[in-house]
Symmetry: C2
Subunit: 310 residues, 2 copies
């Protein structure tokens, strides 16, 4: 099933201890789609400026993305520049220029309005409301947000939660949103306001999914080289939703697997600059990594007989 | 099989957002033993001052601990006072008084010298060497340390690694020891110097075990109330070693299970002040929590058939 994805389509300049990449493909909708299209088609809605190399998104089209919802506007594309530190867990934003993204008003093309699965990337909650107003009958709505909106658009965001099935945020964000340090209680606070599922992303520490009466934990994949962590969270979301859109979102077994597909995608995203690694991925690569996750986390609970005579 | 444990036997005053506990049982050897004795007998070597309420350790004896290696010396017992912040991930040390622990010279009683399983709690690496010099033929030596020794006793510690099978440290410590931000490479650096297994404890984020060609990840147990995190790392070590001592330390399946028993014990330790929760634990409680861990982490890798017509 196709996923409607609304988010940023950007250019990123990234510096890490391993090197530098200038004005490469970035933005939540791009990372999400690069990951999700390995498994499910995606319909993308966004805005770019007249400087955007749209041809560079052809790999998404080849994998089943419909980019007809990306509008080209006059002006500069959303640009972000950042620098990662030695341990790659912290980064400095050097520059953010919103460009045409500042006036983004998502218009959902007629052909996308019957979308059953929707991913609302991290944009103003008012725009996320607008998107849902234009979609006729979504079955499954997932949503990302960030501290900026939690602080500045709190009421709109909390209203939005009523319309959302899955909230995906990081640990700092969920704590801030619920004003509660304990993750279990913070997740329950969110669940009380609408979303049946809350996914808390913790970067290299993995992710936890809180559902109705059960939870699931997937670790971060231990990588020898974390080359560029940019977009790992959106790639996680893409892997999660891409897997779920072709499975049964109401079946806990499928939801659990989707978490592992998400973490696999998030780890692949870190292996090269920008979307370079995601671009060349095929489903078999992801299945291999999912199998690795099983090897890393599986154990038997049988209690062994005591070993004697040693 | 009995475990020889050498470490601190202390009194702790702890303040958390939930309350205050004054001069309660603490120290690495106490937490380790309180956890390990749920599964295996422990022989404890340590020192206390004339102010120590040794009777309060009777619960350990009842569970199979041999405390005849705890020496009472003239002076004050090791005392630590700390305060945890709102999120319980950071703490301030208010006071540390080493007391009789400053002159601790572990003397292994004759009856303990044939120990096959040894846990070296976090003490001066020179003393950890001394302990191993007194033990005749250990099969399995596990060791903890801390930043203080990594900085101040580096050479002695690195020499010690040749004599150690399992190093258990936290993520910050292994990075500092190996001077390497990447955990995989930091663990390999340690493995190249002796220990076949490196366990990296990450607090609420769980723990990773690096072995020869494989690794295993166990999450932190999601607790609704983290009451007092003091001693969680030593309780983890106790659960891990207590399980392994009655199983086969060379069998990866047993080692994996031991990680889960460790994490279960670490989580129980946080539920009450000091060793209060560990004191009342029976094996069935721990098995229950291990089963919870299975529910939280298990997934099937079967790829579902695409769902159509939705």
């Amino acid at each position: 099933m196709s996923i409607l994805c609304v988010g940023s389509v950007a250019l990123d300049s990234v510096e890490t201890p391993f090197g530098k990449a200038e004005r490469v493909l970035g933005g939540s909708a791009v990372y999400f789609s690069a990951a999700a299209t390995v498994f499910s088609p995606v319909q993308v809605v966004g805005v770019v400026g007249d400087d955007y190399p749209l041809d560079d998104l052809d790999f998404l089209v080849e994998r089943g993305a419909d980019l007809s919802g990306i509008v080209r506007a006059e002006g500069e594309s959303f640009f972000w520049a950042g620098r990662y530190h030695y341990d790659l867990n912290t980064r400095d934003t050097i520059e953010t220029r919103l460009g045409v993204f500042a006036d983004f008003e998502p218009k959902i093309p007629e052909a996308f309005r019957d979308a059953r699965v929707v991913f609302l990337g991290n944009i103003d909650p008012a725009l996320q409301h607008d998107v849902l107003d234009q979609v006729t009958s979504p079955d499954l709505v997932a949503c990302d947000t960030m501290n900026y909106w939690i602080e500045g658009r709190r009421d709109s965001l909390i209203e939005l939660l009523e319309r959302v099935d899955i909230l995906m945020v990081n640990d700092e964000e969920v704590r801030q949103l619920a004003d509660e340090a304990n993750l279990l209680r913070a997740a329950r606070w969110v669940q009380d306001r609408g979303p049946e599922i809350v996914i808390v992303k913790k970067g290299e520490h993995g992710a936890i999914l809180f559902a109705d009466g059960w939870l699931f934990y997937v670790p971060g994949y231990p990588l020898e080289e974390v080359f560029d962590p940019t977009g790992a969270g959106d790639s996680f979301a893409g892997g999660f939703m891409g897997h779920l859109a072709r499975a049964d979102p109401r079946d806990p077994a499928d939801v659990r697997r989707a978490m592992v597909y998400g973490s696999a995608m998030g780890s692949y995203a870190c292996e090269r600059f920008g979307v370079e690694r995601l671009k060349e991925l095929v489903a078999a690569d992801v299945h291999d990594r999912v199998e690795d996750f099983r090897r890393i986390t599986a154990f038997e609970t049988r209690v062994p007989a005591p070993v004697t005579g040693r």
